[in-house]
Symmetry: C2
Subunit: 256 residues, 2 copies
């Protein structure tokens, strides 16, 4: 039975897609079959693996709107032990279309349940919003990872995110747990980012992972190359942090 | 009659809110009365001026849902010659509610038209999406400014944005023009960002403003202080660039 992790933060540009791609790659590297689901109409997740729009005929949009479709047909193998269900701009229409459908919050959960026996992990990349698509991700997930840019405007929204998580736990998914907050694009030199990290640790305690992904242009370069950083520069410190994250996630399971 | 400018980019975290706040401050500094409208449920724009949630009773959400309300009552004076209509998380519900209402794409345009004679400029901060709220902004606006982070994943989405702009121009707002693409958070040291800037200039020619806002932690510090950078560090190079942007925008008008 797959463990399903949603990577969520309504603040834009804080490393959600990068975290999903690299955590997925790290889990696959450890021999764990992993499915990534792109739930952002921007469709960045596919492009981080070199998939571009034209190649994707069946997307998560089709599965959400038509539950009769076989979800397995939308899984594209991007690396050994790593599949991906892509998204594209048509998903933007899904929020309005889903709103009218029965069981609208549970649509993604039903899809994941039909695929869960084929994978050890399912990881969902959310877009920068707390709308119906993200609610679907929170309803489908067992656990949540929150990437956080250590800047004031990014920390400011975390309270609202926790409120939304509590609401989903009450109404749709009692098992939902926050696995952790991952500081990303971290630059320890300015006092501001150090202060925001300290404030985050004071506010959220052991929710905050004890490691950070440092800011590095190599992440943007890797995206151009159509690879996660684990492949683009296997020994890069950022790649090592994502391997550590995978280790912590897998280890947690044994404890649970 | 106010000139209405929408600051748009569906990619998250690329400096939209920062650009609206600082362009607004620069226009007010030149003596031009300016209205800022926050159209992002995250409500970051208010917080950049020190306004936090509790203080905002009437928001853009109320005006969009109830056209009978007096829009002037929602305008909060944040600085001399600078007013702001705030947003908060309730706006997230507006997309679904607006979808069912008549003239759903024109709601913001009607609001702006009722306020246009009181201001020289109206500037709209969009959230990271191309949904109905952003369509409202594009329908209400005369001009568009696109902040661009010079990284591959950010440039990738610009084509889709131009397609959406073309669609809005055809269907809802024939006057709509792209005023320019503003490179922000620019760090000229890595080859990657220089390449992406060069590619942007090759693709979009004179749409790209001939200046960039360099990356600087001072922007995040200014947000903590509840001020645009023009106030926080009046002589900071980033503040000067936003003054230059205001100069170019105002000057354009004389040419038009
Ligand atoms: N550790 C890092 N250091 C430097 N740049 C990074 C790092 N992680 C990600 N990036 C870059 O930052 C930008 C934003 O990252 P990404 O697109 O993953 O964020 P996101 O939260 O998914 O954005 P959106 O809200 O638009 O979905 C990308 O250009 C990415 O390449
Ligand atoms: N020139 C700059 N240099 C460094 N940091 C900047 C610069 N401009 C903005 N920032 C910071 O980058 C982060 C993202 O900026 P901002 O919130 O304005 O982007 P946005 O596009 O409005 O994000 P969203 O998509 O979530 O609405 C903020 O923490 C902001 O303080
Ligand atoms: Mg993303
Ligand atoms: Mg913003």
């Amino acid at each position: 039975m797959a463990r399903t992790i949603a990577v969520v933060n309504q603040k834009g540009g804080v490393g959600k897609t990068t975290t999903v791609a690299n955590l997925g790659a790290a889990l696959a590297e450890r021999g764990l079959s992993t499915l990534l689901i792109d739930l952002d109409p921007q469709g960045s997740l596919g492009s981080v693996f070199g998939l571009e729009d034209a190649a994707t005929s069946l997307t998560i949009y089709h599965l959400l709107i038509d539950p009769e479709r076989d979800p397995g047909a939308a899984c594209v193998s991007v690396r050994p032990r790593l599949d991906l269900i892509p998204a594209n701009i048509h998903l933007a229409a899904a929020e309005l279309e889903l709103a009218r459908l029965p069981e609208r919050e549970y649509r993604l959960r039903r899809i994941v349940q039909r695929l869960a026996d084929r994978y050890a992990f399912v990881i969902i990349d959310c877009g920068p919003s707390l709308g119906l698509l993200t609610i679907n991700a929170l309803t489908a997930a067992d656990e949540i990872i929150i990437p956080l840019l250590c800047e004031f405007l990014a920390l400011r929204g975390i309270g609202t995110l926790f409120e939304t998580i509590a609401r989903v736990r009450r109404t749709f998914n009692p098992q939902l747990q926050v696995r952790g907050i991952l500081p990303v694009m971290y630059d320890p030199r300015p006092a501001h980012t150090r202060q925001i990290l300290a404030e985050t640790q004071a506010l959220f305690g052991e929710y905050v992972f004890p490691f950070t992904v440092r800011r590095s242009i190599r992440f943007a370069e890797a995206a151009v190359a159509g690879m996660p950083i684990l492949e683009y520069m296997p020994h890069h410190p950022g790649a090592q942090v994502y391997r550590t994250l995978a280790e912590v996630i897998v280890h947690d399971q044994q404890e649970a």
